[in-house]
C-alpha cells in the first residue's frame, strides 16, 4: 500500500474530500466540457449536433423526489435548472473538440465529420464566425493558441492543421506526418510549440511558426496492436500541459484486451524539456478502463477521469508517485470522458457517458449543506 504523499494546503483543494455537488443534466452522452474562465458558463460537446452552454450563475435546485412518501437513502444532488442550458446549432455530427479563447468572446469547436466552427459572443448569443470542413473525417480535438491567433485541429485524415482566426478558414500551416488517426492536439503555454498525438501513441512536437517537426515523444505505452482482432487499440485520449509548460500528461490505457475491453487506465507524465517519461500513473488497483481526461491542479497534483462500462472514476496523483493517492468511484457505471477545473480551483466538471455533467467539489462539506440536505 502506498502512503498518500499529498497534503492539502491551507485553504487549498482537498481531493480526498471530493464530493458531488451538482448535476447538469442532458440526455446524450457528454464528450467534452470546458469552464468559461471569464464568464460564468460551462460549455460542452455531446453525442448530438449541438454545442451546449450552461449558465452556472443559475443555482442548482434539489428536485422533488418521485415518490414523496419515500425518504431517499442518500441526500439528493442539486440539479441545474432545465432552462439554464442553451443549444448552439451549426455542427453536423457529435462535438468532441472544444476550446475557449482567452478573450472571453470566442470559442472553437470541432465535430466528427470534420467541421470546425469558431464562435463569437460566447457569453451572449453565440454565432458562428466561420464554419467549414477542416478535415476529411472526424475532428477529434481542437486547441486555441495562448494568444488566440491560431486554432489547431486534428482529425482522422492524419493531418494536423493550424488556422488563423482572423479570417475564415485561412490555413496557417498543415503538419503532416501521422500515419493514423490523430486524437489530440495542444499548444505549449509558450505558444511556440504544438504537440499532436495519435492512435499509436506517437506524439509529434511541431514548431508553430515554421511548421517543422521538432521531435517525437514516445507514448506508445498507450497503444497496442491486437493480433487477435487485427486492429490498433488504444491511443492518446487526454493530453495537457501544466501551467508553466514544464510537464505534459497523456491519458489512455495500456495493453491489448481486444476490441471488447479497454486496456488498463494510465496517465503518462513526461518532462517537457527532456521528453523523458517521469511516471506511469495508475490507479491503486488495476482497472480495465481508459483514462480519458487529465488536468494539472495548481496545488501540485494531477487529476484524471475515465472509466468503462464497469465503472467511472476520478483519480488523483502526485507527480512523485505512480499510484493514485485517492480515487472517486462514480455511482453510475460509466466513464468520465473529460474533466475540467473550475476557475475557483476547487470544483471539477466531469463530462459523463450517461449524459450528465457532474460538478465535484474538492473540499469538505459545509455544515450548512449538511443541514440543507437533511431537511
Amino acid at each position: 500500500m502506498t502512503e498518500s504523499t499529498f497534503v492539502p494546503q491551507p485553504d487549498g483543494a482537498d481531493p480526498i474530500a471530493t464530493r458531488l455537488v451538482a448535476e447538469l443534466k442532458h440526455d446524450r452522452g457528454i464528450l467534452a466540457c470546458r469552464y468559461d474562465t471569464v464568464n460564468h458558463f460551462l460549455f460542452a460537446g455531446a453525442r448530438d449536433y449541438f454545442v451546449h452552454r450552461w449558465d452556472l450563475a443559475r443555482e442548482p435546485v434539489v428536485e422533488p423526489p418521485a415518490d414523496p412518501k419515500k425518504k431517499p437513502k442518500v441526500p439528493p444532488v442539486p440539479v441545474a435548472p432545465m432552462d439554464s442550458r442553451i443549444e448552439l446549432a451549426e455542427h453536423q455530427s457529435w462535438v468532441g473538440g472544444l476550446s475557449l479563447f482567452g478573450d472571453g468572446e470566442r470559442m472553437a469547436t470541432g465535430d466528427f465529420v470534420g467541421r470546425l466552427v469558431v464562435w463569437s459572443d460566447r457569453a451572449g448569443v453565440p454565432k458562428p464566425l466561420f464554419s467549414f470542413e477542416a478535415h476529411k473525417g472526424s475532428i477529434r480535438k481542437v486547441a486555441v493558441s495562448p494568444d488566440g491567433n491560431l486554432v489547431a485541429t486534428v482529425g482522422n485524415d492524419g493531418a494536423v492543421r493550424v488556422w488563423h482566426t482572423d479570417s475564415a478558414s485561412k490555413l496557417h500551416v498543415e503538419l503532416l506526418g501521422h500515419d493514423c488517426h490523430v486524437y489530440h492536439v495542444a499548444f505549449h503555454p509558450d505558444g511556440k510549440s504544438l504537440i499532436s498525438a495519435d492512435l499509436k501513441g506517437r506524439v509529434k512536437h511541431w514548431d508553430v511558426e515554421t511548421g517543422k517537426l521538432v521531435r517525437e515523444i514516445d507514448a506508445s505505452l498507450l497503444y497496442a496492436y491486437s493480433e487477435k482482432y487485427e486492429v490498433d487499440v488504444g491511443g492518446i485520449r487526454g493530453m495537457t500541459f501544466n501551467a508553466d509548460g514544464s510537464q505534459v500528461c497523456f491519458a489512455g490505457a495500456t495493453g491489448d484486451k481486444g476490441i471488447a475491453h479497454s486496456g488498463n487506465a494510465r496517465v503518462l507524465l513526461f518532462d517537457w524539456e527532456s521528453g523523458r517519461l517521469l511516471k506511469e500513473l495508475r490507479p491503486e488497483k488495476e482497472e480495465v478502463c481508459t483514462a480519458w481526461g487529465v488536468q494539472f491542479h495548481p496545488d501540485g497534483f494531477i487529476i484524471g477521469s475515465g472509466g468503462s462500462r464497469t465503472g467511472g472514476f476520478l483519480w488523483f496523483w502526485t507527480p512523485d508517485n505512480e499510484v493514485a493517492f485517492h480515487m472517486v468511484r462514480f455511482q453510475q457505471r460509466a466513464p468520465g470522458f473529460d474533466v475540467d477545473l473550475a476557475p475557483d480551483n476547487r470544483t471539477l466538471a466531469v463530462a459523463n457517458h450517461d449524459g450528465v455533467i457532474r460538478l465535484y467539489e474538492m473540499s469538505g462539506e459545509k455544515k450548512a449543506d449538511l443541514a440543507e440536505a437533511g431537511t
Binding site: R47, S93, V113, H181, E227, V231, S262, G312
Partner: protein, 427 residues
Amino acid sequence: MRNDSSCNSTDHLVSRRSMLGNMLAGAAGVGALGQFVHPLVAKEIEAKKKQVLIFLLNGGLSQFESFDPKPNTDTGGPFRSIPTSVPGTHFSELIPYTAQVAHKLAVVRSMFAERVPGSHGGAREYVVTGRPPQQGPYPWIGPVYSKLLADNEDLPGNIHITPSRWGPRQDAAFLGPRHASLVLSGGQPPLNVNRPEVFDKELDESRYKLRQIADLRFSQRRRTAHTEAYQSSYDQAAQLIRQKDLFDVTRESEKDQLRYGSHDVGRHCLLARRLLQKGVTCVKVTHNNYDSHMENFNFHLEQLGEFDKPFATLMQDLDDSGALDHTLVMLVTEFGRTPVIQPDNGRDHWQDSWSVVVGGCGIQTGGVLGATNDNGTEIVDRPVHVGEMFHTYMRAVGLDPTATHLVGGNKVPFGAPERSAVKELLI
C-alpha cells in the same frame, strides 16, 4: 458424381491391368487414368453454372454504421448517411464505394433471430445454417452448396478465405469432411500442398496410381462409400498440388492488385475473384472483426475502411464480366449491434434487427426490404428471419430448400421446414 471407380464390378481387374500397362509404358497423366485425374478446367466456367460468393463480417457488423444509418438520432452515432446509386436509399458514409454498387444489391434491413446459446458461434451458425445451433450441428451453407452445386470433382467445392491464424472448421456436419471448407488461412495456400522432396514429379504420379490400384482391390466385395470419398480426396489433392497457382493472387495483373489494395481483405477479395473464375463453386471471405463492444465507431471506421473498396470492386468486376448473372453474392454477419451506445463508445450484440445484403444470381436488386423505426430500435416493416434467408439463398441459385439431404437413410430438409424463402427478394 463419380460413377464407376469403385463399384463391385469384376471389370476392375481388367481396368487395373490396363492401367498398369499404361503406367509402365510411362504415359504421363493420360490413358485410362485420365478418367480419375482430370486436368483443371482452366477456361472460364460455363455461364449456366451457379456459383456463390459469401462475405462473413465476423463479430457482428453494426447496421447503423453500414446499411441502415440513423444519423442525428440518439442511437445514430457520429457518422453521416450518404446517397447511393439507388435513388432514395442511403448508406453510412463509411461505405462510399459500396454505395456506388447499391443497385447491384438488395438490402434487408429487418433481419432478426431469437437469441441462441453460444454468443457469436451460435448466432453465426444460425445465420449460415438457418437453424438454431442447439438443434445442430447442421451443415453451413458453403458445404451445402458444395454438395448440391459443385460438379467439378477436381476442385474443392467450397473454399474459405480467412484471416490468418484461422484453422479449419468442421462446418460440413453430416455432409462429411468431403464438403468441409478448404481453409486458406490468411489467404495462403492450404497446408501440405508442396510435394516432399523425395518424390519428384514422375514418381509423384506413380505413387498416386499405385495408391489407387490398392484402393480398387480393397473395394472389391466391400461397401464402397468409404472408398469413393477417399479416392476423390486424393484426386483433389493431386490436382491442387499441380495447380498451386490457383491460390497465387500475385498472378493477377498488377493493376488489379492495386485496385483491390495491398491489405489482407483486398488480397482476399482478389483471390476470391480468381477462385470463382477458375470454377470453384462457393467461395467465402471472412473479414475480422466487428465485435466492437468498445469504440464501435473507430473500429467500424477502420474495418469498413478496408472492406468497402475491395468489396465494391469485386461486385463491379463480377458484373462487368457477366459473372454476376450466375453468381449469388451474400454479405452476412452473425448479428447486428445495439442501438444503445455503450459506455465505452461501443455497441453490444443485437439480434432484434440488423441488416444483410444479397445480390447477383436470382436476386431482385436495387431495393431495400424491411425497415426499422426512426432510431433503429425495432423493426417496423417486413421482419425477415434468418431461417427465411437460408431458404432464399437456396432458391436464388435454383435449389429447392424443401428438398432433403439423405442422412443415414433419413430425410433432412435443406432449410428449416417451418420457414420459407423471401419472395420479394427473388426474381
